[in-house]
Amino acid sequence: MSVLTVNNLSYVYEGTKKKVLNNINISFESKKTYAIIGKSGSGKTTLLALLSGLDLCKNGEILYNGDNLKTIDRDDYRSKKIGVIFQSYNLLTNATAMDNIMLSIDISGVKVDNKKEYAYSLLQKVGIDKETADRKVLKLSGGEQQRIGIARALSHNPDIIIADEPTGNLDTATEEGIMKILTSLSEKEDKCVIIVTHSEKVADYADEVWGITDGKLSLVRKKN
């Protein structure tokens, strides 16, 4: 079943004429991992920003479970419905890993019995132990920060996980670990995982690979 549907989406940055996205149509379903690949400047990140509600589309529409993002509260959408994993992590760097997760839980308003334990369990799930969890993000490695970013994206149990170059700054071993976590989210937790990447290796983990060239999106391959 489609959780996120994109219809006739086009996008032009203010002050320019070039269409970064040109009449995009795609449906994203639960229990599946999608990869959107393309070269730098092809429009991948713009598409991600629109899908995650960080920016608003002017032409076309994006529907979350049938509701247009233009009409729903996008803050609620970001805090409750989707989890975004950023390439540059976008964590509060002078806060601890725990603080980042706890704050995300608070913002989403998710009710859990023991918030602290829940946050620790999320971090443990992505391979962050308690000691690391209580350290400031600034003092952690890129891989650890990316794991915290994943844990934060999962903290409110969203339907959709959107990841922008989630392994872009990581070594091969870490990359494999991160990708396993992401794919398991669709396989075991029925989530829709959308990964934006320029890496074919990362794309290989996906059930469907879509390519974006000059703002146009097309299906590259599909797992049986």
């Binding site: 975004v84 976008n90 964590l91 603080d99 608070d106 913002i107």
Partner: protein, 459 residues
């Protein structure tokens, strides 16, 4: 609740930045507290003195103008009725007449009358003979007790008997009473200067103690008439019987205007009613400047200081915020990206500012409250010293003339610089201003930009 907790955590996380902000705010608060406390203390004093000196108006001959005109043979006069007519004015709140009448008594001695030069006539005769010597006593009569405010001020106090209530009743000084073995209920006889054949008997109703410094011993020539302790205090009518018709010209009037600012209009109005141009209404501006001048200077200094500190402090806070903005922009971007609503981000930032500001302002109130008194004392002492130096220089230039100088006791040499609710309220208002300044940059960013823009700028 999580917003407040997050704000608290943010303060701890950004200790350096917040400490720097807090230090600037503490300095601003301390300075503002001291300036406001001094302003409050000085304003009430200045207002009181301004009203006292500026609203009390006497009628005096303008000798400078008379000499200028060269018409010095015939001095213009003003009668009691005319003076009363001028008092019938919207500018006048109240007025009273008073009369300082020279008096002679041949049967009592006055202070500083070493050779009894004032006692004339046949010895032992009550009231003496028809000859009238120089006055050895002064009778001061007034239509109002306002003239005798010295009792209120504590410069004089009744130590036995009561104040006069009826005609021919007087109060005399303790020293004069002792000298002549007089007490309440005794009569004294004075010779009228209007009619040298006539004796006037007055009844002592009370004895007053004069608590001002008796400096008559400092002068080589001791004039009993000018000796404070030889003053007999009574009502205006009793004093007029001593001088007879001369009371018409010897009487003085004091007007109390509604406001010191009414003086010019009052003069114009009186001149319209026929007041000679050689008369002038004067308030005691000179004395006011001598007494309240240093306080006014302290107030000016504190006001300038307050304004400078607020401007400079505000600029420093804005600059600190600009420096911290890069970091804050990223933080705001992250919070917005994970779905925190604009209003909640604003609340977080404002809570942070409020907490830091309130802590700083509270410290500022405490330190400022403690420092206000010593700082105001020091400022005032410096101003008094400066003024004294100016006076000394003037004295040197003019041969040491020191007429119309205030008594030492009148000089304001301390301020009651206490923290009151008004100052606390004002400081918290300033605190509110500091909160706005310290969070304004971030607030502008939140309302202006989408999270993607803030984050992309950072990235």
């Amino acid at each position: 609740m999580y917003i407040f907790k997050n704000a608290m955590k943010n303060i701890k996380r950004n200790k350096g930045r917040n400490l720097l902000m807090a230090i600037v705010m503490v300095i601003i608060s301390v300075t503002c507290v001291i300036a406001l406390v001094i302003n409050g203390a000085t304003t009430s004093i200045i207002t009181d003195y301004k009203n006292q000196f500026g609203s009390e108006v006497n009628v005096e001959l303008d000798y400078a103008k008379i000499y200028e005109s060269g018409d010095i043979n015939e001095l213009p006069t003003v009668t009691i009725e005319e003076l009363k007519g001028y008092a019938d004015s919207d500018y006048v709140k109240d007025y009273y007449f008073y009369l300082e009448a020279p008096a002679v008594s041949n049967h009592i001695s006055s202070l500083n009358q070493e050779d009894n030069s004032g006692i004339q006539g046949s010895e032992g005769a009550v009231g003496g003979g028809p000859e009238l010597g120089p006055p050895n006593l002064k009778v001061i009569g007034s239509t109002s007790y306002q003239l005798f405010e010295e009792f209120k001020k504590g410069e004089r106090k009744i130590i036995s008997g009561r104040i006069f209530e009826n005609d021919n009743e007087i109060v005399i000084s303790e020293d004069l009473a002792k000298l002549n073995n007089l007490k309440s209920g005794d009569n004294i006889v004075l010779r009228s200067i209007a009619d040298v054949e006539k004796d006037i008997t007055l009844t002592i109703t009370g004895i007053y103690q004069d608590l001002t410094k008796d400096d008559s011993a400092d002068y080589a020539y001791k004039d009993p008439y000018m000796t404070r302790r030889n003053e007999l205090l009574t009502n205006y009518e009793t004093a007029t019987t001593l001088v007879g018709e001369q009371s018409n010209t010897m009487s003085r009037i004091k007007y109390f205007l509604n406001s010191p600012d009414d003086l010019e209009s009052f003069v114009k109005e009186a001149q319209g009613k026929g007041l000679s141009e050689y008369y002038n209404f004067t308030n005691n501006e000179y004395l006011y400047k001598q007494i309240a001048g240093p306080v006014e200077s302290v107030q000016k200094i504190s006001t300038v200081f307050l304004v400078v500190v607020l401007i400079l402090g505000g600029i420093i806070l804005v600059l600190l915020n600009l420096i911290a903005l890069r970091e804050r922009k990223y933080e705001i971007g992250v919070l917005r990206a994970i779905g925190m609503k604009k209003i909640n981000v604003i609340k977080t930032l404002v809570y942070e500012s409020i907490i830091v500001t309130m802590v700083a302002v509270t410290i500022g109130l405490g330190v400022g409250g403690l420092a206000s008194q010593p700082v105001s004392d020091k400022l005032l002492a410096d101003q008094i010293e400066q003024r004294q130096e100016q006076m000394d220089n003037m004295g040197g230039n003019f041969g040491g003339a020191s007429a119309a100088l205030p008594n030492d006791a009148d000089i304001i040499d301390s301020l009651n610089a206490e923290l009151d609710l008004g100052v606390v309220f004002a400081i918290f208002l300033i605190g509110g201003l500091l909160v706005i300044i310290s969070s304004s940059m971030s607030l502008i960013y939140i309302t202006k930009y989408e999270p993607i823009k803030i984050l992309s700028e950072r990235n």
